[in-house]
């Protein structure tokens, strides 16, 4: 939005050079210990969230009538304690991770698709179209976004996927600006002009040449959007507008736990730890990717 990022390489077409670009970035990412470790941890958390609920001895909504708000115990199989309804906290946390992560991915994906297409089209068309499209983005920026999200939740409360698709539909603004900036710079380069001269269709140029070459900053931005959406989800949970029983999410679990921080600290600590580690890892990964993909920081 402020500095228009310059394209990172001089690829001639998307393929062979693109691979070496990716390979180069990967190599540099691997040198960044914080980022690789984060990537590893994220993978671990994702696997645990997907597989975990089947492996824990208790079911998601199974009530242990003998253990309400019970502290962690190996003997009972409540490795992270139980919640105030006697349900196994570890199972719920892992399951909540599925919801939190998929919600974040859905929202990010929606913002990615809209933002990249919108930005690429604006940048490629240029001139009056670009001007008009960017004016619209400016207007969207002035919306009291959070208030609209709360209103959306009040209206469509029960359908979470719809809601997060809607959040994604508002989160695309930054993305579109980044992609537009990239595209503006790219389209003056030789390989795009060459494609033009060869009579390649505009849509093909945008999808085959321009968008692949904006991927670097976009990937960085994605790693930053995912934590943003996860936090947003927890914020909505705090307001009582989060996902509904019997489903759960990290945000819901944390906002249940925060009231018990003194009497049943595990209820706050367990889901918070998962959330915090995930967010930290995503942020480190994002920083690492930025460094790896940006030639200026070499």
């Amino acid at each position: 939005m402020t500095t228009e990022p310059t394209p990172t390489t001089l690829p001639f077409d998307g393929n062979s050079a693109g691979e070496s670009l990716a390979g180069d970035a990967w190599r540099r990412l691997k040198q960044n210990r914080a980022a690789t470790f984060s990537l590893f941890l994220l993978g671990l958390i994702a696997i645990a969230c997907v597989a975990g609920p089947w492996l824990t001895p208790w079911g998601l909504n199974e009530v242990d009538w003998n253990a309400f708000t019970a502290p962690p115990s190996i003997a009972d199989g409540h490795y992270a304690g139980t919640d105030a309804n006697g349900r196994d906290l570890l199972t719920r946390t892992l399951y909540g991770g599925q919801i939190s992560l998929s919600v974040a991915l859905v929202a990010t994906l929606v913002s990615l698709v809209i933002g990249v297409l919108y930005g690429a089209i604006a940048g490629y068309m240029g001139g009056r179209v670009d001007n008009l499209m960017m004016r619209f983005v400016d207007i969207m920026y002035s919306l009291p976004f959070m208030f609209l999200v709360i209103l959306l939740m009040v209206v469509f409360g029960r359908n979470i996927l719809l809601i997060y698709a809607a959040i994604g539909a508002v989160e695309w603004l930054d993305m579109s600006r980044i992609v537009r900036g990239q595209t503006l710079a790219l389209k003056r380069r030789e390989f795009v002009e060459a494609a033009h001269a060869l009579g390649v269709k505009s849509t093909t140029i945008v999808t085959r040449h321009l968008i692949p070459n904006t991927l670097g900053p976009v990937i960085v931005y994605v790693t930053l959007t995912v934590p943003k959406v996860i936090l947003l989800e927890s914020f909505l949970s705090f307001l009582g507008l989060g996902v509904q029983e019997p489903m759960t999410s990290w945000g819901v679990l944390i906002s249940e736990g925060k009231d018990m921080m003194q009497s049943a600290p595990w209820m706050l600590l367990v889901p918070s730890a998962f959330l915090a580690i995930t967010l930290l890892c995503l942020n480190f990964l994002g920083d690492g990717l930025r460094d790896a993909l940006d030639p200026k920081t070499r």
């Binding site: 939005m1 402020t2 500095t3 914080a34 004016r135 400016d138 207007i139 920026y141 002035s142 919306l143 009291p144 976004f145 959070m146 208030f147 609209l148 709360i150 209103l151 959306l152 009040v154 209206v155 934590p227 936090l231 927890s234 914020f235 705090f238 307001l239 945000g251 944390i254 906002s255 925060k258 009231d259 921080m261 003194q262 706050l268 918070s272 959330l275 915090a276 580690i277 967010l279 930290l280 942020n283 480190f284 920083d287 930025r290 200026k296 920081t297």
Partner: protein
């Protein structure tokens, strides 16, 4: 300059129009109405109430009516808080939210900028990792956890500061909410500052400055700081929006009579006029803030002139 400001303010009109329209119809789409409650009102009374507030009319008529009143600066009565008008409620709550928000953003800049600069200069050193790790901890925990934690530790257990309440803005009552509100922004600002500082330090003209043999602090203060600040300045708009959002949580937890609570309660109570009032007010505020931020940006960046 004046021409530019005027143009921007004119452009704000369609923005606000969209804001008002979207939130008006969203609010009226929400299930339930302002007079639905635990106990059923007699049909006659409910009809009477609906007629008083014109809620028995078709929605498009209500919309026109609302816009008409709005043009005259009338936000209408609150459905829920019967002793106050919406304008009065906003005028009571806004100074509180503003004071809280300004302190929070001030604190975020005061701490976030130096953290980012230090981390950038000592890039990839232990200092960098420690500073950024601390900053990141702020984004890793939701502020609705941080706030009660602060209240518990500093208010209840140590009893250094009040746990809640506003007390007409006494500084002691403000410390915890301001800290809780700024923690997330400190993290964002520190990271942004670090990234942009690194970028500037790697640029050609800093290398030139170094080559000329300038002292390191001179390079940083004299040459690098100003351009490195630009992304942070342009982030101030979103940052303030973030603070407003956060204040919804903070105001609720610390019992502060700000405007954010009105919005959430209005939305939950279907207090249409109160919700609309806060949305319009904040819409206008964000437009204004964005304008100020852009002007500030132009003051810092010599390449941008708005006169022509």
């Amino acid at each position: 300059m004046l021409y530019y400001v005027g143009k921007r303010l004119l452009q704000a009109i369609p923005t606000l129009l969209i804001v008002i329209t979207v939130s008006f119809f969203l609010m009226h789409m929400a299930p339930g109405g302002p007079f639905d409650g635990e106990r059923q009102l007699p049909a006659e009374i409910e009809a009477n109430l609906l007629a008083t507030y014109h809620l028995d009319q078709p929605v498009w008529k209500q919309y026109l009516l609302y816009m008409g009143n709005l043009l005259q600066g009338d936000f209408g009565p609150s459905f829920r808080y019967k002793d106050f008008t919406v304008t009065e409620l906003i005028m009571q709550g806004f100074p509180v939210s503003l004071e809280l928000g300004l302190w929070a953003i001030g604190l975020a800049l005061l701490i976030g900028l130096p953290m980012g600069i230090v981390a950038a200069i000592r890039r990839n050193s232990t200092v960098d990792y420690m500073v950024m790790g601390t900053a990141l901890a702020g984004v890793a925990v939701p502020n609705f956890v941080i706030a009660p934690l602060l209240a518990l530790v500093f208010g209840v257990l140590l009893a250094w500061l009040p746990v809640g309440g506003w007390n007409d803005g006494h500084w002691r009552n403000m410390v915890l909410p301001v800290v809780a509100l700024s923690i997330q922004q400190i993290a964002y600002i520190a990271r942004m500052m670090r990234a942009s500082m690194i970028e500037v330090l790697g640029s050609q003209y800093i290398r030139t400055a170094r080559a000329k043999g300038l002292a390191e602090y001179e390079v940083i203060w004299g040459h690098a700081l100003r351009p490195a600040l630009l992304p942070v300045v342009s982030y101030l708009g979103p940052a303030i929006a973030g603070i407003i959002t956060g204040s919804v949580v903070i105001e609720q937890i610390f019992g502060i009579p700000g405007i954010g609570r009105y919005f959430v309660q209005g939305a939950l109570n279907r207090d249409y006029t109160l919700v609309m009032g806060t949305v319009v007010f904040y819409g206008a505020l964000i437009v204004l803030i964005n304008l100020i931020v852009d002007l500030l940006y132009s003051a810092l960046d010599p390449q941008i002139r708005y006169d022509h």
